[in-house]
Amino acid sequence: MGHTTRDAISPAALLAEVASPGCGASCLFLGTVRDGPEDGGVTGIEYTAYAAMAGAELDRILAEAQRQWPSVRVALRHRLGLVSTEEASIGIAAAAPHRADAFAACRYLIEEVKRRVPIWKKELRADGSVLWVDPQGHPAVLGPE
């Protein structure tokens, strides 16, 4: 199953994927394209990926979460292409028998995605300018897992 998509992310579909009679707690994270007062008139973000590696890295991250929290059920979608302001660029759902594991797995997944998945974004602004976004402000140095 692909974890990247060009379609809108459905919170309900992600929650349904992880739901199970034995899971009493579900945690959903949505990352949305922001245009706050300090964001300078962002109208959308264009996401591009190193597709083969993004898929492989997402598979590895999800497998790690599954090993670390065996009772947790996880689902993840990352948008590629143009995502407009207030739309979700990523959705992650984690369901578990107990809530601490659902929160922990969901948080782990978003942190690892941001740290490791080769996806880039260009901010499209209302004034017509386009800007590659560097979340860290400098090249990150990552080693092997």
Partner: protein, 80 residues
Amino acid sequence: MVRLKFFARYAELVGQEDIELTLPVPTTVAEVVRRVRSEVPGATGLPAEPLTAVNLRHVRLDAPVQDGDEVAFLPPLAGG
């Protein structure tokens, strides 16, 4: 021969996404980076120690590179 891949801002700098580079193998990622920055037009703008991947996995600069490997130059990641 190693297959080089450039993405996002780096692809814009280099003007293409895929290049094949011939160099003595086995070698290291650091040596590939050095050769790319000195030989590939536009690549002088790449950082001396970029984020890199070999065969779809993140690696450090001292990682080995074999014949036929895919070496990717990754701008700062911005997924999520």
